[in-house]
């Protein structure tokens, strides 16, 4: 059962990626299976940067391959 913070990121990612939230119920589902390409990954990065007031280095963006990685990255960068 995801916690509130994870759920918040899930909803944000679904909105930016233009997929229904239930498609992200498995946080390890590959973004490529959801047609999330590199430009959408950049949009996801920009959206979480704005919401959580973090800076995602360029080198981290290609690592955005699924929701679980987004959640881990936000938690790590938020400190």
């Amino acid at each position: 059962m995801p916690n509130e913070f994870d759920q918040e990121i899930k909803i944000l990612v679904a909105e930016v990626a233009e997929v229904s939230v239930d498609k992200l119920d498995d946080p390890n589902v590959s973004f490529s299976d959801l047609d999330v390409d590199s430009m959408k990954a950049l949009e996801i990065a920009a959206a979480v940067e704005k919401k959580y007031k973090i800076i995602i280095p360029e080198g981290e963006i290609p690592k955005i391959k699924n929701l679980a990685q987004v959640i881990d990255m936000v938690k790590r960068l938020k400190g």
């Binding site: 590199s38 430009m39 950049l42 704005k50």
Partner: protein, 151 residues
Amino acid sequence: MWDIEKIKTILPQREPFLFVDEVVEIDPGKRIVAKRYISPDEYFFKGHFPDKPVMPGVLIIEALAQTSILLYATIYPEIASAHPYYYLAKVKSEFILPVFPDDTLILEARNVKIISTGGIIEIEARVGERIAAKMTASFSVKKKNESQNES
């Protein structure tokens, strides 16, 4: 600040498809302000529309997109100077007021997230103090040898 000759070293577009005349403000990496005078002699006014000339919205988007490239060039001048290909990926736009002959567009682009391979930018076009159009756009940048390898 940047005249048309400097702009031409960055933008691949040329007349009559060059929609930036000069850059008047630069906050490197964050924001850029450019201008474009819309002459009554613009080629598109002949058909859009013969009895009531109005600048087509798609060309305002083009002006905004070209301004975005100039903002990118303030962050990655070395990549921009190698004349990569710029691809507009996504545009969310809103047209608020029409642009007429003799108007001067003020084009202001703000960095949302720009990396070496692309970016997301918020941009607006004003005529005087009035906002004529605004958009959020994403674009990708590919070096010429990368694009050739893909084809």
